[in-house]
Amino acid sequence: MSVLNPPRSARTRRPGGPAGAGGSFSAWANRHRKWLFAAPAMIFVGVLIVFPLAWTVYLSLTDSQGSVRAATDFIGLQNYITVLSDTERFWPAVGRTLAFTGVALAFEVVLGMGVALLLWRPFRGEKWVRVAILLPLVATPVAVGMMWRLIFDPNIGFVNQLLGMVGIPPQPWLSGQDTALGTTIFMDVWQWTPMVVLILLAGLTSLSDEPDEAARVDGANAFQRFFFITLPLMMPTVIVAILLRGIDALKTFDILYATKGKGGGSFHEVETLNVYAYGLSFDYNQYGLSSAVLILFFMIIIGSMWLLTMRRKAVSK
């Protein structure tokens, strides 16, 4: 194996002295390889993050609007006051963001666990199921949004045709003021449950069989074995899945913007914080206001991540 036999060049090449000796550039590079390797990526990300983040904080304290080049005045915390007292767009958007994330995550974790358990032990045709699980994951979200727009179309959509066969009247789905958010949650569940399945399945496969076997010998039924053995052992993995998926769910943009367009629909029915902030910036050019929204949004994300990480530390102890 290649692991046991390093490439010939590695064995035959013998540089002059031991590693790190001499005053040449290569010796210097070897001594400082830690930062030589890490720095380029960190500088790249740093410049692209730290500077824009600082700028966003600055913009949130100004009345910047219209054009990004226009002159601005420093107005202190005025934007934050405006945003936090805005019960028409901001607070409903906060509510929708949390509802979207919470409901989608709940479905994805429960369904994901169910499917992962189904796939746990080997079976015939496993390959095909794996393909089916992978395809939604890699499908382009905008295309997925367009696909569901046709399927959920009130007049020609497949869903209403199907409901018609069992005598249920057509529903407005995406175009309905009350049904739109739920419909987009459904799309998110379709696309991202597979991700949760893959993570949980990896966790299940890495579990040792012994506790389960021991419980089986002691006469525990499958219910008891799942809730008292498998689930507690899986908790750290479940929380990782929630963390990874939660970050992205909070920031969902593609599907919402692709299916409902600017402002999250004419009644803002699917306007989450990300859609709201994007709209303020690039549809209405209210840069100061949108920056304030973004800073608050960022704090919500960091806060929920921190809570989950704490929880994860608690369960893995």
Binding site: A19, F44, F158, Q161, L198, Y257, L294
Partner: protein, 292 residues
Amino acid sequence: MTVMTDSAATAADNRRPRRRKPLATRAYKVFRVAALILVVLFLLAPLFWMLLASLKTNVDIYDTGKAFLFSPTIENYANVLQRNNYFVFVINSFWVAFVSTALSIVLGVPAAYAMSRFTMHRSALVVLMARVIPGVSLLVPWYYVFSNLRMVGKFEVLILSHMFVALPLIVYIMMSYFDSLPLELEESAEVDGLTPIGAFRLITLPLSVSGIATAGILSFIFSWNNFMFALVLSGAKTKTLPVAIFDFVSYASIDWGGLMAAATVVTIPIMIIALFTQKYIVSGLTAGATKG
């Protein structure tokens, strides 16, 4: 429900420890097959429906009686690819995804290596922050800078923004890959006279090919699918496929057949790549997820 049928099997086990009672096992098997068929249907049927619609004329799409029985046409594809110039967008998407992935690998792999070997957790956190920050908060300053430099709509800017998605992903995946690679191999190479960088280049890198493939494929997919950055930073000539599809619906009435053909054109290449690289994608998506 899985659990309930399974519990019946266990009860049977207890009575006759050596042999499972066949009937209960069969009940679970039937349940499992049925459940799996449902799952597969749920995941694939919408994609199949999209494909069907892309092969129908708009008249047939509106005719609910012709859901499955219709004479297929490739007119929609010809329309989208020729008249709307989708080939250009396909090439744009490939170019942006390919270059941003390649550059991110060059920057990200050594960084991940250093962060894994020297356990630079705080440095890693800086790079991983990029996964957490809402993209919009970066887009406004980027847009400001690049529009002042008159660079909005150029490939360089688009590639830069997509690298921002790719690089943290690559660092994250490669870090967990390097963590699992035994340190002894390099150490013995260094005893044999290689410099540390030489050992990285001649021993570690060749051993990491599958890890780099994993990271590269995933980053390509995410770049290909990216919508928001390209929506703001691409121009008429550098438009990527997701943006092109989005523009499709701004017409007064939706040309559903064309739209579904366009949506199929963007998903097919990435799905073919995914089918051939399945195991890499799965190992990448689950990288580091199971470590307590």
